[in-house]
Symmetry: C2
Subunit: 324 residues, 2 copies
């Protein structure tokens, strides 16, 4: 900046102004400064800027997994919007565990982010303490709660599970089995589904749960295990479209007709879900909208705006297709 200033015949401070608030500088000197920047190839140093201004222009985003489209899709839109507001995103994986989340958060905070995006509403006491200590806006996505740390944007997994059961019941299914990934939110949907389905039909569905994430392979394996345990007819409720797709494939390989013999419901309405055979009945979450809204909420909170509601429920929508 010093160099640029000398070239333009002004002081270093004026260069700083020209960059951060151009209208505070006369058109004439602004031009000279821009030329000098062009000439020298000067690149601003945001770490110095961050130190001086106490604004890092950095957002920390903690997601369970970046390879899971569910989250990367959300992040893509989040990042897009947040970058439009001049921020950079420090992204990290927390792997569905609160301990990992806390460890990651602690190193993240040393970057002095201006805001934080968290996935889910269950965080360790240590996490909450650190967040409080940091004193920065926090947005929790992908779930709802009455008592968010700061604000939360998502949907009710319990209601989602319940409405899946209601849908299944209304479509005439009286027997069901659940195939679920091992993460806490998937299990919550599964439990809500089973409970409501039991209430409606009188029989509580069995459940097949995997330790970790959803894959097509586990979906195939899930149906195989269901069949082994005697499941022949009814609805297979899957905690994700990936599992459901696997169920579809396994059914086909065993010449089990869908939805003739068994019906299948997924969750997430992924890109492929309209194009499986048969097309997958699933639950749509508007992930792009969710990501964008989370970004906007965060930017607003960083600007010290109060949001109309502490907790925004973006809802979900059951998409009936051929599989159930």
């Amino acid at each position: 900046m010093e160099t640029v200033g000398r070239l333009a015949g002004v002081s270093q401070v004026t260069v700083s102004r020209a960059l951060n608030d151009p209208k505070k500088v006369s058109a004439n000197t602004l031009k000279r400064i821009q030329d000098a920047i062009e000439l020298t190839g000067y690149v601003p140093n945001m770490v110095a800027g961050a130190l001086a201004s106490k604004r890092s222009q950095l957002i920390a985003a903690l997601v369970p997994s970046i390879t899971n489209v569910i989250y990367s899709d959300l992040m893509q839109n989040f990042i897009d919007v947040i970058r439009g507001s001049g921020y950079h995103v420090l992204m990290a994986e927390t792997g569905f565990s609160q301990e990992e989340e806390q460890a990651v958060l602690s190193t993240m905070l040393s970057r002095r982010p201006d805001g934080i995006l968290l996935t889910g509403i269950h965080h360790s006491a240590g996490c909450k303490r650190m967040l409080l200590g940091a004193g920065i806006p926090v947005v929790e996505v992908w779930d709802t709660t009455e008592s968010p740390i700061d604000v939360c944007i998502g949907f009710s997994h319990i209601r989602a599970g319940e409405e899946m059961a209601q849908f299944a019941f209304e479509r005439g299914y009286r027997n069901a089995i659940a195939v679920s990934a091992g993460d806490e939110r998937a299990l919550r949907r599964k439990d809500a589904f089973c409970a409501r389905f039991a209430k409606l039909t009188g029989t509580r569905p069995d459940a097949i749960c995997f330790e970790s994430g959803a894959t097509i392979e586990r979906g195939r394996n899930g149906l195989a295990r269901a069949i082994d345990s005697g499941f022949r007819n009814g609805l297979v409720m899957c905690s994700s479209d990936l599992l459901a797709h696997g169920v579809l494939i396994e059914a086909q390989s065993r010449s089990i007709s869908v939805p003739g013999d068994i019906a299948v419901m997924g969750f997430g309405n992924q890109d492929f879900s309209a194009f499986t055979l048969p097309a997958l009945t699933t639950v749509d979450i508007n992930r792009k909208h969710l990501g964008a809204q989370a970004a906007e909420a965060l930017v607003a909170r960083i600007g010290n705006q109060e949001l109309p509601e502490k907790c925004i429920d973006v809802g979900f929508q059951i998409i009936p297709r051929a599989s159930a």
Copy 2:
């Protein structure tokens, strides 16, 4: 740090030492400092540290897309390893365009990253100039070249396409069609495949190319268009497993037998590829290894080590399964 120091009865510098190089401090004072840190809830400020030491401990990573498993899988391992070395990753999407890459890079550089991960080997002149100006290590992944900016780690897309053709020829296929996504590397594989297949059989395969990325939907659409244009028998070469999976589904929906009527090859060996019906013949890239190796190379270069080779070819491997 000042406060922590006072509490522990030492100066600020000693606290800094205790954090960065504990063995430079006596066990006694170290203990007192750690207690003081615990008591105050002190969180180090890496932005100040970065400014003072001129090491940001930040790596910028530019990938075409974070929703594409191909890249997010690579990034997952890259981030894992890089975090193990004490760095944070600043990740951004470049969307397959050189202009976007340059725009993103320019804002990234103002964070003064210690190193950069780039995807591919084709970058705008502006990019190269900025990179040279930054004077930091650069690792280019997912491709190979004789003249990398700094070091590159990947595989030859041309050889991959050629070996796919060779494989198809040896399996007895004499007719083929290519279905490709629109990105430059996919097209390079497609062109190499078509050229080699033509050389081997005397007939150059037609190609169906999409403007943008691969999806199952486009795979289905690709086969539909192939059929419309008269394709009845032979191999469908797909630029990715996602497209191939779509082809498989479309074939099934039309009662076209695979590999009886048509054969299908994918690329990428994704999680699901062994579990489609039939299982997908594809090309495996060891993405986890690639990500880890890129991270290690970057860390080594940041430590001013010279690598034995400027360009590391991690190769690829054709995985023969039932579909071709």
